[in-house]
Symmetry: C2
Subunit: 410 residues, 2 copies
């Protein structure tokens, strides 16, 4: 019996099937088909299937020179990893050859250059990594990449997508992709998401977008605009949804055809531009009943430069917050109001509280997601020519993050 064998284990009358994993104790550890490991002292154990030996030489991967060049930038996350059953270790796929050997269909879509930028858990992502990533993408495009695919952990992928959307004006597709289930699980979405992302990377959609499963079946991926997408489920494969705007389109997994749902910027429509500065001293505060506005003093003391409030409903906070909005504003700190409803538009002109908030200096995030408003504020405070310009531009669309005003009934 060897690590990596598929085994059946009997324990207390229950039968468990899985892959034999390394263990540091007397327990036998097996990886179940749902991807989780269990450890137990078995009553009996039987080999169902021998581990595949990995000693054979990988086949020579041939890249087709007639296909467009796509750079795959790896930042970490579930999609960039594979579990080595012989050691139990999670490793990253590095070379283009390794990636194509894992997902051979990719070789029919493009030829690839692979670049590992960093390997971090996406919950550790922050503004300085966004800057490094935006620079790397720009460099790859300058060096001839006709499309860029970025593998990314799903936890903060949409924050990164928003950051790149403001930091780059791109003449080619820049596609973020991840997976909700690692490639060792039967329900993994890694291969299909990668194939659909690559398909978008060679398309004429020259935007920063997120390509992820569109349903719980393996039938299509949605192409979300980078400033409109949100992770709306902790674990489902179709967790990513476009909010307040239709997705740009979808990729049929079987036919690889792209169906378009909304306007988009086309390949070559603009020159490459990189704006690689961000002001990280911005905060997102969620309002809740009884929340203490003292947090404003704290942020002012710490030297914060911008604040986004996730308010209730049309964009409200308690009346006792309003003097603090004014204080921050008077200190040159823009205060932007988005809604914890997520869907719909801020409108602070309907009720007294909203009007008082506007009078105190609050700026409406329109129909921007709170997370996008935060990233946009970081970008504006570092790129606008003045604080006034930054304040003015918050409510104006720069990268598809805001729609024209629609009826309240929508």
């Amino acid at each position: 019996m060897e690590l990596g064998d598929r085994v059946a284990v009997i324990k207390g009358g229950m039968r468990y099937e899985g892959i034999l994993m390394p263990s540091r104790s007397d327990h036998v550890v097996i990886k179940l088909s749902n991807g989780y490991n269990i450890g137990l002292v078995p009553d009996s154990i039987e080999v169902l299937e021998r581990a595949q030996k990995h000693e054979k030489q990988p086949e020579q991967i041939r890249m087709r020179e007639d296909l467009p060049l796509v750079t795959i930038i790896s930042t970490g996350g579930t999609i960039a990893s594979k579990v080595d059953y012989r050691t139990g270790a999670v490793t990253s796929q590095f070379s283009a050859e390794e990636i194509i050997s894992a997902i051979p269909e990719l070789g029919d879509i493009a030829r690839y250059h692979a670049r590992v930028l960093y390997t971090i858990l996406s919950e550790n992502m922050r503004a300085e990594y966004w800057i490094e990533l935006a620079r790397a993408v720009a460099e790859e495009i300058q060096n001839g990449a006709e499309g860029v695919v970025i593998t990314h952990g799903t936890d903060t992928m949409t924050y990164t997508a928003a950051a790149l959307s403001f930091m780059l004006r791109t003449p080619v597709p820049v596609v973020l992709v991840g997976s909700q289930r690692s490639s060792d699980r039967p329900s993994s979405d890694a291969a299909m998401n990668a194939i659909c992302a690559s398909t978008v990377a060679v398309s004429d959609i020259a935007e920063v977008c997120v390509v992820m499963h569109g349903s719980t079946s393996d039938d299509y991926c949605l192409i979300h605009r980078g400033t409109r997408v949100r992770k709306m489920h902790t674990s489902r494969r179709d967790a990513f949804q476009s909010i307040n705007h239709p997705p740009i389109g979808r990729v049929d997994y079987t036919t690889r055809r792209i169906e378009i749902f909304s306007d988009y910027r086309k390949r070559g429509e603009c020159e490459l531009q990189l704006f690689d500065r961000l002001e990280p001293r911005c905060a997102l505060i969620k309002y809740f009943p009884g929340a203490d506005p003292e947090i404003f003093n704290h942020l002012i003391e710490l030297g914060y430069r911008g604040i986004v409030i996730e308010g209730t409903g049309l964009g409200h906070v308690a009346t006792d917050w309003i003097p603090f909005i004014k204080k921050a504003t008077d200190n040159g700190i823009p205060v932007v109001v988005a809604s914890q409803c997520l869907r719909g538009r801020i409108c602070d002109r309907v009720y007294d509280t909203g009007r008082d908030m506007l009078a105190a200096g609050a700026i409406e995030a329109e129909d921007m997601l709170p997370e996008v408003a935060l990233v946009k504020l970081m970008w504006l405070l570092a790129n606008a020519s003045s604080l006034d310009e930054a304040r003015d531009m918050i409510s104006k669309p720069l990268a598809g993050e805001i729609s024209g005003s629609t009826s309240m009934d929508v």
Copy 2:
């Protein structure tokens, strides 16, 4: 021409129709059919319809003594108000007679006792008002109410619903209702929501629930469990959705029939119990990339007793937050982790970050909404017999706020 007249105003070739409102300037102010006011200096103005005179005596309202007694507790909000076209002032409906005279259908469902508890904007709601409200509801039930309807502003209605769900074990229906559009607007949802709420108040659903429009048509209202509902749109009438659990049921507006979708506690199944204590010193912090864990020190210094983190994905924060989770825990402050995805379940056993968070003392909110986790923590810290018991009960269902663990694939 008088205030309240329906007029047509011509300005710069554009024609506007609306109700003539009071104005303190040279402008003519009219209320458009979408509910908004515009002010302009008209080129011409014409009366289309004279204001209805309000001088006639209201008809004598007769309550049917054969119908069950429902108490309507008013807390403020759009649904409790009407716009007086003659003054432009928003006033509250007070007596049961006034309410029935505004919505006569209510008189066929129940007889009413009306009680104005307070008139506040729901964004100013806070724990002390929840306590007052829970006491009032308990009092009304003790005094014979067979159902209670609470009119409430929509901004924080779901926080209040969660608070009442933990504070009351009720043998009769306790129904929160609001409206997204005031009753002076043609698209108002006030009457239909009130009628459906009253229908639920005389049903056998003895839970704290929220009854609001279920679609954008006037066809049915959904009955949401108080611990599972969230406002998911700033302005739509069907903004309220049940998250991570089906609604209890729905009320067909035409037939008044209730269709049931899930289990519920039936009328009379439990004795009335009131737990009227809350610990207001609890905070909800939303994590975002680069967020400074220094906020923990601030909250500890301010004497906070509980913290809920709205983490990413399965319930993550950056690695540099983990020592602060431990510090708060060591200071006797429970730290609960919910997800900003809103949908799905927290699982901090899959990735290293999550495991480290659990080791530092973080408590998983399971599939509870972040807002509900906050309210539950306020309740537990004031009602559990010990801190250990409070910590234990966070992940266990008390009022339908948590479901049994389901497959990750759901």
